[in-house]
Subunit: 447 residues, 2 copies
Amino acid sequence: MTQRLLVVGGDAAGMSAASHAKRLVPDLEVIAFERGNHVSYSACGEPYLIGGEVSSIDRLVARTPQQFADQGIDVQLQTTVRGIDFDRRSVVVEKEGERTRIGFDFLMYSTGATPARPDSIIGADRAYGLRSLDDAAQLRDVVDGGVKKAAVVGAGYIGLEAAEALCHRGVNVSLVTSGSHVLSGTIDPDIGAAANEACRRLGIELVLSAPVYGITAEGVATGGDTIPADFVVLGVGTDPEVELAREAGIALGDSGAVAVNEFQETNLEGVWSAGDCAEATHRISRRQVNIALGTVANKAGRIAGANIAASMNGSAKARFPGVLGTAITKVGEVELARTGLTSRQAEAAGLEVVSGTVNGTNTAGYWPNAAPVELKVIADRATGRLVGAQIAGGPGSGKKIDGLAMALWTEMAVEDLAWVDLAYAPPFSGVWDLIHIASRRAAEARA
Amino acid sequence: MTQRLLVVGGDAAGMSAASHAKRLVPDLEVIAFERGNHVSYSACGEPYLIGGEVSSIDRLVARTPQQFADQGIDVQLQTTVRGIDFDRRSVVVEKEGERTRIGFDFLMYSTGATPARPDSIIGADRAYGLRSLDDAAQLRDVVDGGVKKAAVVGAGYIGLEAAEALCHRGVNVSLVTSGSHVLSGTIDPDIGAAANEACRRLGIELVLSAPVYGITAEGVATGGDTIPADFVVLGVGTDPEVELAREAGIALGDSGAVAVNEFQETNLEGVWSAGDCAEATHRISRRQVNIALGTVANKAGRIAGANIAASMNGSAKARFPGVLGTAITKVGEVELARTGLTSRQAEAAGLEVVSGTVNGTNTAGYWPNAAPVELKVIADRATGRLVGAQIAGGPGSGKKIDGLAMALWTEMAVEDLAWVDLAYAPPFSGVWDLIHIASRRAAEARA
């Protein structure tokens, strides 16, 4: 008898799971419920839709419902799951005001996350969030309407990219953060200084160390002045969408997101979860974390799909190997990237660390238009093992983080990193790569 | 009593050894003999001196003799070592026609390599080589003189870069190689096709599969036609400079270069060697190879310097961890990079391999000006372990090879590589990096 997989939430994690499971077990019935108007879209591309680099919403859609239908997957848009009844193995969905109950054999819980609107910010509802494609389209329309002055609250990836996008469109932007530098949750102050500088060079007004108390018709109320703005974008992080899960008895972890094991299994038999609503194991801190990034959602979703199939056909289970928190963005020509733990995160994880930093260039120093790059590696003092790395620098420097992520993944020590046979030619680096030099300095700092 | 280190040959390996040894043992007397006019220069930058990206020879000099003198290192330019007498622990040097004998306690043999001028090419002496800064200056003068038509024989890194440089200067260039594609010694034909295409797009005329028999006043004589040229650049590899070594009883390896162990020690007590004249252990084939790259010379030279110091002060010896043959270059906007073994080299090393290739872009597909990238990974069929990788693609793609070099260094399997937490944002890659996709395909090819 045909078995049925229901997918609750149709972006990266859910549709990766659906697609992979269907590929592995072609006679599986798969229905995906998505409350919005799009599935399988690039949320990371949204700031660039506003900024104008991306010309239309369609370009951000990786696969359309029709493409899924062609694969035999039934996508139900504008359909909200209202409840999950684990004992009866069914869900209640609502579409156009009408509720239906539908049974499942397997359930993929992939509801994602919503932009946080903390209670501590009075009037947070006045601000725009940036999550769905519809959010992005709405913000673009606002900009098209000819606003002059915007405030962005929160300087994480979304806040930063939104600020740059608005800047590109000629809007006067204030970026307001409680941190002493942009990306303060994910990079250290030294690299953060370069990130701040990049924002200022672009013409973004930074309002640092400014807790936000409210959003009013006039703008953003901080501890100091009110920052005037025609409209406000809120980018203070995301909250995993776990209400349905909680009600259904799906266990949550300490982070507040859905607890899963390495097979993406929840505590409930036949229920998997992945993506922004779920936890993942951080390979360095060994803690369960909730990192809302598309990279994680796609990979973990695919693992869930493999294991949904494995539960049917008895093949070996797939393991999700964990995350490093690797991420990258750019502000103007300055690329910002990070992996692993920051110095502060490392201390919080109980590690005593050293670091090595180098200020170099993105090419040989004598190459035309050599641009500055600051690269930092953080190592465990006791073992020398790499713990994290951060980069702020000119074109081509950001993706150097991938080499460091590889090193982190395989638990290399900075002593070894200093000698790896990396590529060199004058348009690309110095003969000693910045990774070598920073690693050597970190090794020396251990002595 | 002060001890004396003599350095035979003053480029990357020799001066790295000199400088590091002196730093570790400040009262060591160090004298470096260099037959040319410069020490410690970037040979890899020479094509760009001809091409015009680099404005003057001085910019390619990393450290001047005066800077070494300030560190207490005596650099003797235009001084040729004529013989090494190991038993008497002395060398004979010649400067301005005058010969002197000078004793040593320690000897660093770092003579480098010279452009190969094979006997099979009649009239090879008519061609220009490109090795020293003086060679580069001479070639630049030839171009400044207003030549119209050049032929470059050999399509390795130097040949390719020389051809591009000449192109930049408006010279009509034919690139002649016995290979079926450019870089045929270091990349496979599939990636080579993209490299060929890049050359043609730049306006370089490729003459492929053409063994060269002679260089005449008219141009280059191949098995087919004679390719007319006002002047010819020969870039068919380099020969390690080992004559002095052979005469002195320094053992050579099968590659023809100086045999060294992991401490850069030769067979003779108190004599070290490193750089283009010496062998190194290839970490994948486990064979001794002679790879004439600045990256290797700088690292191995530094190791030699550390061990020269260790032989005096009793500190622990440093080990050179080996090479992967990682290299990168560019032709116009197309970046070409490689690490490890090619498919053919892997077979020669007795490995049965599979590969995975992806044709993608250097950014998210929807990003403006997304440029094509072809990325290939090669894995051992039996274990899945990465064996090599190659890339041909648009801006930012070449240095992805470093991540693959890290993976190669730590003996990762493609099954693991497919899941590493790499950085993603639309200006930099797709959500699945090309490394993930190619690795997954290689893993599937094993099944």
